[in-house]
Structure formats: structure tokens, C-alpha cells
């Protein structure tokens, strides 16, 4: 089968145009990266609802809070390294604390930003945002689910953090109605091991399951695009059924999806778990595929972790 690649930021730019048409309360803010992330397309169509604040992320977040207080639905977008990186305080005190309807959508998350190097690679945003009360945290796996999840976030009251990756990724979802915020999506049934993934690692998880099946291991794959609130019910069910879990994410292994899953299962049905992700180290410059290999963000690494867990059972 031919793998179809599509870009999450193109999908995001498209859905913003639809949302802008549908709901006049939708406004978009950018911080001098809007051509690269393509939110400038929204600005071209709706110039009076687009605000480029320059390279001033903290100001952008504060302005978004004010817009939300005055009844708007602000979408705040720049690179993940700087949102939330430059403005955690504004997100916490001005947005989450008063439970404002601000949608933070960051692009270029994770290591796959590539040659820009560690300063621009965000491996702790999911963990940070997850620790902020009231914040929804969503990490879509592909372009169609990006569209769907962003649209749902727009219609759901409260603060959201949605994290997109830079490279074009294989399309997993055919129809965008397949995903629902807060509901983990079972993509493949299996009985020996459960793989819980989010973001670009969902595709790697699917490939790992395929490889594992060739060695007689039946892997269940779940897209846990909503990291918070985590769909613990589904995850605990997978844990009960398979007896061991591998998590996979383009994030530090500390505090992200792996952390969330570990917390959920230790409280209700502890099983052995192995976390695939960046192993608490900064990244470096390189092509995104090279980085995924060097930092263990591959289907191979997921399969290896799965086999290890099964062997030690």
C-alpha cells in the first residue's frame, strides 16, 4: 500500500479557515512565525481577526487571555519551543487558572524539528502542560486527526494545548470523524502486548505491531492523542487484556504520555511498562529520520521494548 504523507500544519491552517467561517468568535494570534506555520493564510482571509504580535510570546499569551475574557476564541500558535517555553506563567495564571477558552496550538514539537538543534526541539512541553490544572493536552498523530481534534477543541470550553510535529507524516485516519477528544482510539487489536502511543509515534507503533506479528507476537495499538484528560478506562482495559504496556511518544520519557499511563495503571491495574521516548537528554541537529534513529524514536525501538517485556514476563 502506498503511504500517503500529509502535513499537520497544512491541516491546521485548513481547519482554521473553516472554523473562522463557522464562528466569528475565532481569532488567531501569531508571533513572527505565521508564514512558516501557515496561520498567515487565516490572516489573509480574515485580516481583522488575525494578530501578529511579533517575537513576543508572553505578550501574545496575555493578549489571548484578554480576548477570551471579552468573548473571543483565540488560537495561539508558534513553535512549541517558545509556546509554552516562553510563557508558562501567562498560560498558568492568565489562562488556566481563570479557565479561559484559549486554544494553544504549537507546531514543530519534539525532536523532528531537525537541523535547528536542541534549542528548537521541545521534549518537555507535554509534561509541563499536563501538570497545569484544567489544561487539555492533545497530540495528534496525522493530518486528518489534527483537523478533527482542533475543530473539537474549538467547540469545547476551556484551555487546550495541542502539539503538532513538523515533518509530513503518514496518514492513519481516513475520515476525520474517527477521533474524539478524551477517547483513546483502538487502531489494532492484539493480546500479548499493548502499545499506547501519541503523535508521530502512532505510525511507528503500527509498524512495530506489524513487525511483531511476524514473530508471532500479537500487539494491540492505541492512539492516546488526548494525553489529558487521559482515557484511563481504555488504557486499563488494554493493560488487563495484554498484561504489559509499551508507551511511545516524541517527548522526554519523564512526565509525558508514558508518565500519564504509568500513573493510571499503577493506581488500578499495575502491569510492567516500558516507555519509549527521548531518554532525558537534549537533542541535536540532524535530519528528522536520523534523529529518530539516534534517539530511539522508531518502530524498531518499540518492538524491542515489547519483546523485552514479554521475555521477562
Amino acid at each position: 500500500m502506498l503511504v500517503q504523507l500529509a502535513s499537520m500544519r497544512d491541516a491546521y491552517a485548513e481547519v482554521l479557515l473553516e472554523l473562522g467561517q463557522e464562528d466569528p468568535r475565532v481569532v488567531v494570534l501569531g508571533a513572527d512565525t505565521s508564514v512558516s506555520i501557515k496561520t498567515s493564510l487565516f490572516g489573509d482571509r480574515y485580516p481583522d481577526r488575525f494578530f501578529n504580535v511579533g517575537i513576543a510570546e508572553a505578550n501574545m499569551m496575555g493578549i489571548a487571555a484578554g480576548l477570551a475574557l471579552a468573548g473571543k476564541i483565540p488560537f495561539v500558535t508558534t513553535y512549541a519551543a517558545f509556546v509554552p517555553g516562553k510563557c508558562l506563567d501567562q498560560i498558568r495564571n492568565a489562562i488556566a487558572y481563570p479557565n479561559l477558552n484559549v486554544k494553544i496550538v504549537s507546531s514543530h514539537g519534539g525532536l523532528t524539528v531537525g537541523p535547528d538543534g536542541a534549542s528548537h526541539q521541545t521534549i518537555e512541553d507535554v509534561a509541563t502542560m499536563r501538570a497545569v490544572p484544567r489544561m487539555h493536552v492533545v497530540v495528534p498523530a496525522d493530518a486528518p486527526s489534527t483537523k478533527s481534534l482542533v475543530a473539537q477543541a474549538c467547540r469545547t470550553l476551556g484551555p487546550f494545548y495541542i502539539r503538532l510535529s513538523r515533518p509530513s507524516v503518514p496518514t492513519i485516519y481516513s475520515a476525520s470523524k474517527d477521533v474524539e477528544v478524551g477517547k483513546a482510539k483502538m487502531l489494532r487489536e492484539g493480546s500479548d502486548i499493548g502499545i499506547i502511543a501519541c503523535g508521530i509515534m502512532v505510525n511507528e507503533a503500527m509498524e512495530a505491531a506489524e513487525t511483531l506479528s511476524k514473530t508471532g507476537i500479537s500487539a494491540e495499538v492505541v492512539d492516546s492523542h488526548t494525553v489529558k484528560p487521559l482515557d484511563s478506562e481504555t488504557i486499563v482495559r488494554v493493560a488487563r487484556k495484554t498484561g504489559a504496556l509499551v508507551t511511545a511518544e516524541e517527548q522526554n520519557v519523564i512526565g509525558g504520555l508514558g508518565g500519564a499511563v504509568a500513573e493510571a495503571i499503577t493506581e488500578s491495574h499495575p502491569v510492567p511498562i516500558s516507555r519509549v521516548g527521548v531518554r532525558d537528554t537534549f537533542g541535536e541537529s540532524g535530519e528528522h529520520q536520523e534523529l529518530m534513529v539516534k534517539y530511539g524514536l522508531t518502530s524498531k525501538e518499540i518492538a524491542r521494548a515489547a519483546k523485552q517485556l514479554i521475555k521477562s514476563r
Binding site: G54, P115, S119, H120
Partner: protein, 275 residues
């Protein structure tokens, strides 16, 4: 400063070589930021080949002058200047942005001569203040230079730092603004108007100088004036052109973060070094 003692010929030669390196490295990497690297060449050459006291053999010399590249995306101009100065082999420049290389997309301490990992804009002037304060505490003679982008001035932290340096009477600190009029999304005056930029710094109690950032005599004269100023930090607003030296890049915001292809660069470099 005696004008005759400025070795203009040598500085011009260094600038030409550094421009060639910048183009070759970003073409080889197929990514990076040529525009804001090319606009800052004469500023770095004036510092590293004339004004600063530094020793490529002793990058950790405690008494060295320090250069902070706050607009870290201009890493190609910093790496090639450091290479021309002898901090690293020029042959290493082609490893820019490649996996396992020291030459990270944004400045990294693995490279000798790099003082600060600028990358996230807005932090460098604060770090430079810290270095300058430490110099005062230790009664050292060293000076600290920080190069900022004009788009970078959008960051609130820049102005927090701008308030702090005069308070601490940091006459050992010189900030330089690369006033090339362009940031990432377009012209600074459209994205976030910065004029009157000199007056802003004046209002924050800085000693303000404005120069043509490609004129060695003007840049060096300003650096000397900054050094003789007592009790106040100096900011030099260096008027430049983004993409300077490559006609199709000059003034084109697209070349903020886009690499020209290798063939084009080969031709450009040939004419550049012949001149």
C-alpha cells in the same frame, strides 16, 4: 583612534571569506539562516579581528572579552568568524547542522569561542549583563558585547535587560542591534514597528550610537567610543541590509531562513573572492 591604524584591507578580506563560508555552509546544510548572518559580517569582523582581546588558543582565558550572539540563528556568521580566527578548522564548517557535528543549528558550547547558546530570542542581553556584572565584581578589565536582531527587540526580556544595564552602570557592556529591517514574517515596521528605535534606548538611559553597519571605520569608531564612555552602557544601532552581498537575497524576507542551492553559491563565491 588613528584612522591609519585600522587595517581595512585585512578586514575586507576577512569579510569576503566569511561571506563565502556562510553561503557554502548553508548551501551544504540545505537549511539555516543566511540573511541575518550576511548582515552581521562586518560587525563580527570588527570585533574579532580588531576590537576584542581574545585568544583562539585559550578560549577559556578569564580576562578575554566576550561576544554573545543573542540572535543565535545567525550561527553561520559566528562559526565562520571563529574558524577564520583560528578557534576551529575551516574544513569543519561544512558539517553545519549535520548529525554528530559540533556545529549545531544554533550556537552551542561544544564549539570553542561560543560564549552563550542563543537560539531562543530575547535572552542574550540578560546573559551579557550577567557577564558584565561578574566582571565588575571581580574588578576585571574585560568587555562584553551582545549582538541582537531588530526583530528580537520585540521580546519583552530585551527591555527588562535594557532597564537593568544602566542601573548597574555597565560601561563594560556594548549592545549592538543588527538593524536590517526584516524579521521572519516580513518587515519589522509591519510586523512590530520598532521606530524610533534609537530614542527607545535613549529613554532607557543608554549611550546610543548609530552607524552604517558595513562601514568598518564607523563600526570601529563606535566600539571605541563605547569603551571610553564611563558609567553607562552603549548600544550601537548598526544599519544593515539583510542578505548583504548577494543581490537576490538583499531585502528579501524569504532569505531569512532559506538556503540557496550549491550551484548558485559556487558562482557567487567565485565572484566574491575575486573582487
Amino acid at each position: 583612534m588613528e584612522e591609519q591604524s585600522i587595517p581595512i584591507g585585512m578586514l575586507l578580506q576577512k569579510a569576503a571569506k566569511i561571506r563565502a563560508h556562510i553561503l557554502e555552509m548553508v548551501a551544504e546544510a540545505k537549511s539555516g539562516h543566511p540573511g541575518g548572518s550576511l548582515s552581521a559580517v562586518e560587525i563580527l569582523v570588527s570585533l574579532f579581528f580588531y576590537k576584542m582581546r581574545h585568544d583562539p588558543k585559550r578560549p577559556d582565558w578569564p580576562d578575554r572579552d566576550r561576544f554573545v550572539l543573542s540572535k543565535g540563528h545567525a550561527a553561520p556568521v559566528l562559526y565562520s568568524t571563529l574558524a577564520e580566527a583560528g578557534y576551529l578548522p575551516t574544513s569543519e564548517l561544512k558539517t553545519l547542522r549535520k548529525i554528530n557535528s559540533r556545529l549545531q543549528g544554533h550556537p552551542d558550547h561544544r564549539v570553542p569561542g561560543v560564549e552563550f547558546p542563543g537560539g531562543s530570542l530575547g535572552i542574550g542581553l540578560s546573559a551579557a549583563i550577567g557577564m558584565a556584572l561578574a566582571g565588575k565584581v571581580d574588578k576585571k578589565e574585560y568587555r562584553v558585547y551582545a549582538l541582537l536582531g531588530d526583530g528580537e527587540l520585540d521580546e519583552g526580556e530585551t527591555w527588562e535587560a535594557a532597564m537593568a544595564a544602566p542601573k548597574f552602570k555597565l560601561d563594560n557592556l556594548t549592545a549592538i542591534v543588527d538593524r536590517n529591517g526584516i524579521q521572519q514574517d516580513g518587515l519589522t515596521e509591519q510586523i512590530m514597528p520598532m521606530e524610533p528605535v534609537g530614542y527607545k534606548w535613549k529613554a532607557f538611559n543608554w549611550h546610543v550610537l548609530e552607524v552604517d553597519g558595513f562601514d568598518f571605520r564607523q563600526v570601529i569608531d563606535a566600539l571605541e567610543k563605547a569603551e571610553s564612555m564611563r558609567n553607562r552602557p552603549t548600544v550601537i544601532i548598526a544599519h544593515t541590509i539583510k542578505g548583504k552581498g548577494v543581490s537576490f537575497m538583499e531585502w528579501d524576507p524569504a532569505y531569512h531562513g532559506k538556503a540557496p542551492d550549491k550551484d548558485t553559491v559556487r558562482k557567487l563565491v567565485k565572484t566574491m573572492l575575486e573582487e
